[in-house]
């Protein structure tokens, strides 16, 4: 059972603090959703985890061993990102062959099926691929290489709705056939909400949420009713946002409710991950010092 640990990672670019004391643990066999607004530090964190760039402070370990300059540990991860690390003139077939030689094996059976399903021409040169097929090719590599940690940074960039659907179903199938850790960084929260088991929210370089999706959703409460009754009921609770529809008000609460009595005029339900993300990241905007672990 491999564990990927990120400890006290800090990173600055010039005077800009991109990551501040980030601590995370990724367990084997889970699908993590790494969410955050633009510039939250998601891509930087993934690049540090795979030793592409150096952290200012902190360390990344797999099974208590630092991954820095460590072939054995770096070979357990594959980061698919929008940054192209393959030369434009290289043929896709050759890239697969070379990647296989470095990682030790490659699931050709799965790759052939995915190539057919996505309609990818494997005899092309990498630089000739459209944005969508560029992502598809890298996703095929990510799913077919024998790694324990698959890191996907904006995996469906440029993919049309059909291909996105196909990718998510293949991701679930691949995970079910060969359970391993996936870390998916994306802005399309609704699309991954049903796939991920755990959610991590980064905001302004800090972790503001890191919990199983089930636990997170259980703490979301949408309180809807007449404004006066809703405000009275939610008084003292962690209201992270609200909506007004005429005289009806919806207050969004994140956290456990106490045993206060629910008025007849007020309805209680859960709200989704995307809404939680929006309100949480708006709430912490400009005052990022809360950390929820």
């Amino acid at each position: 059972m491999s564990v990927l640990e990120v400890s006290h990672i800090t990173k600055t670019f010039g005077s800009k603090h991109v990551l501040s004391d980030v601590n995370l643990t990724f367990e084997e066999g889970k699908i993590y959703g790494l969410l955050g607004r633009n510039g939250a530090g998601k891509s930087t964190l993934l690049s540090i985890m795979t030793n592409r760039i150096f952290a200012g402070e902190g360390e990344v370990k797999i099974d208590s061993e630092n991954v820095d300059d460590n072939d054995a540990k770096l070979g357990l991860m594959y980061l698919m990102s929008e940054v192209n690390l393959y030369a434009d003139g290289w043929k896709l077939k050759q890239i697969i062959k070379d990647s296989e030689s470095f990682y030790g094996s490659f699931n050709h059976e799965l790759a052939d099926r995915l190539i057919t399903e996505f309609g990818l021409d494997i005899n092309q040169k990498f630089g000739k691929l459209s944005t969508g097929y560029n992502s598809i090719f890298k996703l095929i590599l990510a799913l077919c290489l024998p790694v324990k940690f698959v890191l996907l940074d904006e995996p469906v960039l440029g993919l049309d709705a059909n291909h996105r659907e196909l990718f998510y179903s293949e991701l679930i199938q691949s995970y079910s056939d060969n359970p391993r850790t996936f870390i998916i960084s994306t802005h399309l929260i609704e699309e991954v909400a049903n796939i991920i088991s755990d959610v991590i929210v980064l905001d302004q370089g800090r972790v503001i949420l890191n919990q199983p999706v089930e636990d997170v959703l259980a703490k979301t409460h949408s309180v809807v009713g007449p404004e006066k009754d809703v405000d009275q009921y939610t008084q003292g609770l962690n209201v992270i946002g609200h909506d007004n529809m005429g005289s009806i008000r919806a207050n969004y609460v994140y956290g456990d409710l106490d045993d206060r009595i629910l008025p007849d005029t007020v309805q209680l339900s859960n709200f989704d991950l995307q809404k939680l993300f929006i309100y949480l990241t708006n709430q912490y905007e400009g005052s990022a010092h809360h950390e929820d672990k």
Binding site: N51, D69, N70, D71, Y78, F102
Partner: protein, 257 residues
């Protein structure tokens, strides 16, 4: 460690580049002049021996090694994508350049001794042959030292290329351009300043520079130069450059592009 796999990968890519360069030179220096002679009706003036007389074939290898040694970022990107550490990349790259130098140097000397000397009666085919070969009275010993001396020159040239290339990859493209523009200007100004001081200022002699250069080059007033000071200097410089290259490799990271 995956050094063997990375070594095979880099060797395959770079030996193909070497063959491509020789093929290009063969076409540019032998085939094209022949075609032009044929088209212009001056085929009688075309001489294969004359075309081969120059030392472009041997010089080309040195230029190729210097050029590829400055280019390491593409390989770094691919290797870090595939979970290969910087240390493994460094070890594999040094091994591959060592192998290429062994192959290229062997080919160069073979070309000098088997083609240039007997066919076109060329003698000063490289630095060693023009300045140091007569230091040895035994031709076989001369040949061996020619091999070592030429190899060391290639090693130092390659390592200088690696230092320049790997140093530049630490910076963004804009900073790289600034360095590439500013460095020659500073070098030119320094050279001009030193030259003018030497000419105009009698007290500014810098005789130690000339004496040091003479010592390193193994200058002797009579007879052939002594190759050993130069060879030892190249060894020391190569060792220092290797340490610098290792350090620069350890600092490689993806640039924000």
């Amino acid at each position: 460690m995956k050094t063997n796999k990375v070594t095979q990968y880099l060797f395959r890519r770079q030996i193909i580049g070497l063959f491509e360069m020789y093929a290009f030179l063969f076409v540019a220096f032998l085939i094209l002049p022949f075609i032009f002679s044929l088209i212009s009706g001056s085929l009688s003036d075309y001489s294969l021996a004359e075309q081969m007389r120059g030392t472009w074939i041997t010089a080309a290898f040195g230029v190729y090694m210097f050029a590829i040694s400055t280019l390491s970022y593409e390989n770094f990107k691919f290797l870090i994508q595939n979970g290969i550490s910087r240390t493994t990349f460094f070890e594999a790259q040094v091994t591959v350049y060592g192998l290429l130098i062994l192959i290229g140097n062997t080919f160069n000397l073979f070309y000098q001794y088997v083609v240039l000397m007997p066919l076109v009666h060329a003698h000063n085919t490289n630095i060693f042959m023009s300045s140091y070969v007569n230091y040895f009275h035994n031709p076989f010993v001369g040949f061996i030292f020619n091999f070592i001396f030429s190899g060391l020159l290639l090693v130092v040239g390659t390592l200088i290329g690696m230092v320049i290339g790997n140093f530049l990859t630490l910076f963004s493209k804009i900073v790289q351009r600034i360095i590439l523009i500013v460095t020659p200007i500073i070098a030119y100004i320094t050279l001009m300043y030193t030259a003018s001081k030497l000419i105009l200022d009698a007290s500014f002699q810098m005789t130690w520079v000339a004496n040091f250069a003479k010592f390193i080059l193994g200058y002797r007033a009579t007879g052939a130069y002594d190759p050993f000071p130069m060879m030892i200097s190249m060894l020391v410089v190569a060792a220092v450059l290797l340490v610098i290259v290792k350090y620069l490799f350890s600092k490689k990271q993806l640039k924000r592009e």
